[in-house]
Symmetry: C2
Subunit: 351 residues, 2 copies
């Protein structure tokens, strides 16, 4: 009965264009600290699970890149999906392969592009969840205490405590990305957490739940484990569904551990801007910047020097061949530029 890590690294990262590209999405960026988000994710839980027990699920085009980022992970454990189908297929694929080697395995599932500022605390919580899963079975989630009525996240509603322990709560239900008013009510009620997208469960319970709630996916995964060369064909038929919606909402014995771990999904430049240290004029730089009579400006560069003269309230992202100038309240709209590039057939600035 070993612990296994499954890292989900399939994101396209369009909201970080032009820093991220189709061929270089967010999980490979060094947004915070000095390592890629993927490498940081792997390293963070190194004391709990080693490289030999790590699977990464990514897009088929990114397998090489993942391997260069995580040279210790066996190449056979980096799974390249022919197309992105949300989290349930990714997790089921890795689970199926792990179960064949270790039917008693307990899995820790982590997205590869989130920031966790309190790494030690997260490590303790992950250990706790793994131990609980080993002892009691069940599905464990990590609930982030919401700071604002974010409409881009899923929410988890809590019930009472579980196992007679104050740090584990039963889950009443999962709520997909809510409308604004609903989000406001939920945050105010104090009974909801943000769903951080991290999970712990015994592999056999997960596969059992997939068989029960997502039977087409289940059989696809069995077929895939038996015919790994047929991924192209099999993925074409599989349903795209999230683990939250496809499994967690329906499963019995689902728990949430309140997680005060400095979590941030860094889903937008605005989120990244919040994480950067600021000077007296509230300017922040990731890369080389010069500020002259400017305030509340965030500069993110993977190369070019960015200079500001007499401006305020801006986000600027610069690469050698593309510059993005953004109002702080529009950081969700970066996709509109990416869309315009796609429609214009401009692949040079996307790839």
């Amino acid at each position: 009965m070993a612990r296994w890590l499954v890292i989900l690294a399939g994101g396209r990262g369009e909201r970080f264009w032009p820093l991220s590209r189709v061929m270089h999405p967010k999980q490979f960026l060094t947004l915070v600290g000095d390592k890629s988000m993927l490498a940081t994710t792997r390293e963070r839980v190194a004391p709990l699970i080693d490289d030999q027990h790590t699977f990464v699920v990514t897009g088929v085009d990114y397998v090489e890149k993942v391997s260069r980022n995580l040279p210790g992970v066996p190449k056979s454990q980096i799974l390249g999906e022919p197309r992105g189908l949300n989290t349930a297929p990714s997790i089921a694929w890795a689970a199926q392969l792990i179960a064949r080697r270790d039917p008693e395995a307990v899995l820790l599932v982590l997205p590869s592009d989130h920031v966790i500022q309190k790494g030690e605390r997260f490590l303790a919580l992950a250990d706790r969840a793994l131990t609980l899963a080993e002892q009691h079975g069940g599905f464990y989630t990590f609930g982030i205490i919401p700071t604002h009525p974010e409409t881009g996240y899923g929410y988890i509603e809590r019930k009472g405590t579980a196992f007679g322990s104050r740090d584990v709560l039963e889950v009443a239900r999962f709520v997909e990305k809510p409308p604004r008013e609903v989000a406001e009510d939920m945050v105010q009620s104090g009974r909801y957490f943000w769903n951080s997208g991290m999970f712990v469960f015994p592999v056999n319970e997960l596969l059992e739940a997939v068989r029960e709630f997502l039977p087409v996916l289940y059989h696809g995964m069995v077929a895939l484990a038996e015919n790994p060369d047929r991924a192209d064909v099999i993925f074409r038929e599989l349903p795209a569904v999230s683990i939250d919606h496809g499994i967690m909402e329906k499963a019995r014995a689902v728990y949430v551990l309140p997680a005060d771990i400095g979590w941030d999904d860094v889903g937008t430049f605005a989120a990244l801007a919040r994480l950067l240290p600021r000077n007296g004029e509230q300017n922040a730089a990731h890369g080389y910047a010069i500020f002259v009579e400017s305030e509340n400006v965030t500069a993110i560069s993977d190369g070019p020097l960015i200079s500001f003269v007499g401006v305020k309230d801006l986000y600027v992202v610069a690469t050698q061949d593309a510059v993005l100038i953004l109002s702080p309240d529009k950081s969700q709209d970066v996709r509109k530029v990416v869309q315009a590039l796609k429609e214009g057939g401009n692949h040079d600035h996307l790839l």
Copy 2:
């Protein structure tokens, strides 16, 4: 008695950083149209004066660049100054060399980094000034009708008409860059023109005036014509003085031709921004730009794609290795960034 052209191309162009660099100043940029400002300046007067009768005075480091821009101009007529000493030494040097070959020459002196939108009209005016100088002698300037109380230009005060001709006026005096209130009074009076920095005169009258008003410079130029290899030493001792202040203010028989020629010295990004065509949201681009929900934005790129989302009232200039984000009312302050780079010893982004 031939007509000769002297182009002044010694500018450093720091106000156009990062588009301009120490090694690639404004006169070599393609800011308007599809040719460098220097090449456009030469071409504009091609119907009046050919390459064989053209001198260019530039910095010693730019001689090669000028030659590539103007391949028809004999290399021996591209003069490289060891240090920039304002316009009087530049003009006197070229004049001295021209006078030795053609003592009866009449000179047209042009800065290399101004925009003239009404090229045909300017051509007719230049022809008129050259003809007047050939017939009557004297110093001719081109007066731009001021549109606002610019404090960065010199002004020319007019007197009555000359030669019984309505299109030529006598000059009362030259005014160096005035304080704001003085500029306002001058513009309001209707008796002042902006000094466009373009001149026409017989070479012998110019050299006579240099000898009379700037004797040190005169003897330096004689020495230089006799010892062209000693430019380094000679330039070290020469005074830095403008032709306006050193000669025109003191000379007799100075005239101004009112010049409605769409002139702009394009001295700042703000000036350049005024010259670019704008879309319905008042956005303008020189290079490749995408505007999403943005207005009154000017994008100037010599390569990178610049994208805007939800911003207004900005100037942005992008090169491969440097990006400048500027408030429209701060375009004079670009020098502060250049200054910061110099102080920080950052030569990579200056050269």
